[in-house]
């Protein structure tokens, strides 16, 4: 009976395994090379797509719009504030009962008004009280305060009061001011008779 050497069997197995492993690696390399080409192409496509966005200033446009939206939401529209101030000043027969000499406002929504009463009116102190009451009742102004009132006379000898009003402007949602019937429900102060 022929006997085959164990080392010969081991040798054959080692050679077969080494050959098979080498073949497998070559097969892997070939398959992965195809994958690499596909990945390279995909990467190039995506890079070109990003470049397209960057070349057309789309990134800058996105930044601009994002910042614009944020700033616009936090910006106080002074035209609206001045309209509100004018609306809030109490009127008698359509004429403001006091005269605003100057006003100032800052982005922290603090406003201050320099005011003098109408010399043709009889009760300037009551007018001053009506004026502050009007700001107190307005939903658009908070913390209305007059620190001092000074009295003087005009050229015709009539009493004129001067004072400064400080307040904080509050932006009110237009829809909040509508009652169920859709009527403006802004609380208007009653004028002193």
């Amino acid at each position: 009976m022929k006997r085959t050497s164990a080392l010969l069997i081991v040798g054959i197995m080692v050679l077969v395994l080494a050959g098979a492993y080498t073949g497998y690696q070559y097969f892997q390399k070939s398959a992965l090379s195809q994958d690499l080409k596909r990945t390279d192409k995909e990467l190039l496509d995506q890079q070109n797509e990003v470049l397209k966005y960057e070349a057309n200033n789309i990134v800058e446009a996105i930044n601009a719009k994002t910042v614009y939206e944020t700033l616009k939401a936090n910006t106080l529209e002074w035209s609206g504030v001045i309209k509100k101030i004018r609306e809030t000043i109490p009127k008698d027969k359509g004429i403001p009962i006091v005269e605003v000499i100057s006003y100032s406002g800052s982005s922290n929504q603090n406003i201050s008004l320099n005011v003098k009463t109408d010399p043709d009116r009889d009760e300037p102190y009551f007018d001053t009280a009506d004026f502050i009451k009007s700001f107190d009742h307005s939903e658009s102004f908070d913390e209305s305060f007059i620190p001092a009132i000074s009295s003087g006379l005009n050229e015709e000898g009539r009493e004129v009061l001067s004072f400064m009003l400080g307040a904080i402007y509050q932006e009110v949602d237009a829809f909040e001011n509508l009652s169920e019937e859709g009527v403006d429900a802004d609380k208007k102060p009653l004028m002193r008779k």
Binding site: S5, L8, L15, E49, N56, N63, K65, Y68, K72, E99
Partner: protein, 195 residues
């Protein structure tokens, strides 16, 4: 006779066996050589290619996310058309374009019959990354009645103008029964870095 035959057989068997051992050893060595010089370098190359693919796939995912982010932003911010993008860039342009700011202010003042008294500028930076501010301090004179429309024009200007503070002094002109206003505005306009 019998013992001679037996010796010869042992020799033959011994000869065959040593040949097999030699061939076996050669095959083992050959196998090792094939593994070392054939399989291993290719395996290293395969690993390298795999790592290369992995890193490129990560880059693709990042770029895809970036593109998706841009696409989503375009849709949500409504800047998918060229016109919308131009409007957006007009509000906060690339580069300071101070000349445009001056022209803008002058045009608005003329449209509303307001007289520009003074302008001063200062550079600054905004909270948002890559956004800079140009602070404009200005003073004007005009009819008090035109003040609100003037402010509205600034608020709706194509280039974003944020009025930070306002000072208004009202003077009644007794002869003409007109109310004049002298007012100063502290404003900010915005721009992006030129790349």
């Amino acid at each position: 006779m019998l013992s001679e035959n037996s010796e010869n057989k042992e020799l033959r068997v011994g000869g065959k066996s040593s040949g097999g051992v030699i061939i076996g050893a050669v095959l083992v060595v050959l196998g090792v050589v094939v593994f070392t010089f054939g399989a291993r370098p290719v395996a290293e190359e395969v690993n390298q290619i795999q790592a290369d693919i992995s890193s490129k796939e990560v880059s693709i995912v990042e770029l895809t996310d970036k593109i998706q982010k841009y696409t989503d932003a375009e849709e949500s911010l409504q800047i998918s058309t060229e016109v919308q993008r131009q409007q957006s860039l007009s509000a906060i342009p690339i580069g300071m374009q101070q000349d445009e700011v001056i022209e803008n202010i002058i045009n608005i003042t003329r449209e509303h019959d307001i007289e520009l008294k003074s302008l001063s500028f200062g550079k600054g930076s905004a909270e948002a990354e890559g956004i800079h501010t140009l602070r404009v301090n200005s003073s004007f004179e005009g009819n008090y009645a035109d003040l609100i429309s003037f402010l509205e024009a600034l608020e709706t200007n194509e280039r974003l103008v944020k009025v930070d503070s306002i000072n208004v002094q009202i003077n009644k002109v007794t002869i003409s029964d007109l109310t004049r206003a002298i007012f100063s505005l502290s404003m900010e306009v915005y721009y992006q870095n030129e790349s």
